[in-house]
């Protein structure tokens, strides 16, 4: 079955080969941009399309491109392929299956802002993806899509495929630039922002893999074509990563007015065993979970924010009615404790403290006042840390307490989960 958006021609074998890519219309957008458009016109088109960042923050992409100053050189493009947000696996499919689409998007973005070199920063675990992307880059050089005087124009670009080495924090923009410079991935103080002072203190455009992979589609088909899909403030389509308790987990590129219920039932085949949905995380584990009553929310930025969560990375994780919410929350928070870079106290100490209390509750040592303490710790982390990893480390627990307080209370009162008692009661029947 053929996809749409960045998964167009998803089922075509060997799309990583440049001849197959060109046969399916590849590099036509680049040709159009170089031969028919000024760099600023490319930026205007991306602005008009309404494309918003697909990494997690959802910042308007064209606006970000516009922040890069014209008259400071050299300039760089960094493509953020560090995909590490739990539940997210959409970029990996682009890199391994359709790397030329990503390369084409990077070249067009570099043309728009006047960059001389582009780096694709892949998470270290994507060893295979890095090989595939490097082969594709070599092919692009051989055909004249990279290197000097691309397609006979006076625009030249070099591209480097760079692997990280295992650190969620390196998906954070400023930490990624530190890592690219060969240092520990500690976030930077902003301002200055990467657009003005990025890698090597030079103007840098840093965008997510899916965001840049969308650019050739927009340039080829036009801004109106792209903006006819989606909601008012979330234009276009996005690649949702569907996982957890569903029959057909996978990546689905769909218009952004798709609701959680539609994604789970119509595309995801519903919950295994005919069970009911208990809670859904709609945008990666840094997004607050939503209860089943909110399944008709469109999976779009503003709509999810209004519902108390966020669009995030578009990773939809489904938890069925038999999920022990306290244990699932504990597992999610172990991730943030593991990945906290350690630079600032609220995150470093706070993530450890939250897990310590959650572990105690889950293992039968919960005490009255623990839930209030958890919420208090969250209030000392949120908005008070050096970067947004910390702000992503608290919505899960806050929302789990908001919607499933009774599970915490049961643990604290009885020393075990309500599911343990239910199983015993059912077995006795």
């Amino acid at each position: 079955m053929s996809g749409m958006g960045v998964y167009l021609n998803l089922d075509v074998p060997n799309m990583k080969d440049i001849d197959v890519y060109i046969k399916h219309g590849g590099y036509q957008a680049l040709e159009k941009a170089l031969k028919e458009m000024q760099p600023s016109q490319v930026t205007d088109m991306v602005k008009a399309s309404g494309l918003r960042g697909r990494g997690g923050a959802g910042f308007p992409t064209g606006v970000k491109w516009g922040f890069v100053p014209a008259n400071i050189n050299p300039k760089y493009v960094v493509c953020n392929c560090d995909e590490s947000e739990p539940g997210t696996f959409k970029d990996r499919k682009i890199i391994e299956h359709n790397p030329h689409m990503l390369i084409e998007g990077i070249i067009i973005a570099a043309y728009a802002i006047g960059a001389v070199k582009a780096f694709a920063y892949l998470r270290g675990e994507f060893a295979f993806g890095a090989k595939v992307l490097q082969s594709a880059v070599d092919q692009a050089y051989a055909r004249g899509y990279l290197g000097k005087s691309i397609l006979g124009s006076n625009f030249s670009l070099d591209m480097v495929v760079h692997r990280g080495a295992g650190a969620y924090i390196c998906g954070e923009e400023s930490a990624q630039l530190e890592s690219l410079e060969g240092k520990r991935g500690y976030p930077r103080l902003r301002p200055p922002f990467p657009a003005v002072s990025g890698v090597y203190a030079k103007p840098t455009l840093i965008n997510n893999c899916e965001t840049l992979s969308t650019v050739p589609l927009i340039v080829k088909n036009g801004a109106e074509w792209y903006s006819k899909w989606g909601t008012e403030k979330s234009k276009g389509t996005r690649a949702y990563s569907l996982s957890g308790h569903v029959n057909k987990p996978g990546t689905y590129d769909l218009p952004m007015n798709t609701t959680l219920r539609q994604l789970i039932d119509e595309y995801g085949g519903g919950v295994p065993g005919g069970k009911k949905v208990k809670a859904v995380i709609p945008g990666g584990s840094s997004a607050a979970m939503l209860p089943a009553s909110m399944l008709d929310t469109p999976i779009a930025f503003d709509e999810l924010t209004a519902a108390g969560s966020m669009g995030g990375s578009g990773a939809v994780v489904v938890m069925d009615e038999d999920t022990d919410i306290v244990r699932a929350t504990l597992r999610i928070h172990e991730f943030y404790r593991e990945e906290s870079c350690g630079k600032c106290t609220p995150c470093r100490e706070g993530t450890f403290w939250l897990v310590q209390i959650l572990e105690r509750i889950a293992h039968g040592g919960g005490m009255p006042g623990d839930v209030e303490k958890l919420l208090d710790i969250c209030s000392q982390i949120g908005g008070r840390a050096f970067c947004l990893l910390a702000d992503g480390a608290i919505p899960c627990i806050i929302s789990s307490i908001k919607y499933f307080r009774e599970e915490y209370d049961y643990y604290i009162q009885h020393g075990h989960s309500m599911y343990a008692d239910r199983e015993i009661a059912e077995a006795a029947r």
Partner: protein
């Protein structure tokens, strides 16, 4: 400590970047590919080639979890335990491996063949539960599959994808949006 060939590969990596220090991570990957881990002497060699202090190299080695500071088994098994894999049965998988290999997480088998690690999200959530053996992904795990992985007879996700690219043969879960049966692993399934 590093061979002239490894040094040449590192020099080639350095040449790609406007600043030599950017090559620290690639250089350490080259060292670990060659020796299986990153010995202190190799870190000093990397520092010399790049032109920075060995402290500046070792702080990178200790920050990024993929670099091993001690020798590890020939095959390092990394099982994902993040939320999507957890919901689809990563805990039974981890317990199964601990029993089969007779080690705790973080330990190496006495014959030096396997190291068992528990890691965070590997970006393969649609085909959970998932593990890596060194750089290779193995997805949609069942206990039987794990037995075959340990025996070395199971194809990795990359091998399946390359087969698809060559032959165009539909592999369930790889390129359709559907990635496999929706049950947690049962013994023998």
């Amino acid at each position: 400590m590093i061979t002239p060939e490894v040094a040449d590969r590192i020099r080639a990596a350095i040449a790609k970047y406007p600043s030599a220090r950017s090559a620290v991570l690639p250089a350490l990957h080259i060292v670990q590919e060659t020796y299986g881990w990153v010995p202190k002497e190799a870190q000093a060699d990397v520092a010399n080639l790049i032109g920075i202090t060995s402290g500046e190299v070792s702080q990178v080695v200790s920050f990024y979890y993929m670099y091993f500071q001690k020798p590890v088994g020939k095959r390092v098994i990394k099982v994902c335990q993040s939320i999507s894999c957890y919901l689809r049965g990563s805990d039974p998988i981890i317990d199964y491996l601990k029993k089969k290999l007779n080690v705790q997480a973080g330990e190496t088998t006495p014959d030096g063949e396997f190291t068992l690690l528990v890691v965070e999200c590997l970006a393969s959530c649609g085909s959970a539960p998932v593990l890596q053996v060194n750089d290779d992904y193995y997805e949609n795990l069942t206990y039987d599959k794990i037995d075959r992985i340990l025996a070395g007879t199971e194809k990795s996700a990359a091998q399946l994808q390359l087969e698809y690219d060559e032959k165009g043969v539909e592999i369930p879960g790889l390129y359709s949006n559907y990635s496999g049966p929706g049950t947690v692993p049962e013994a023998g399934s």
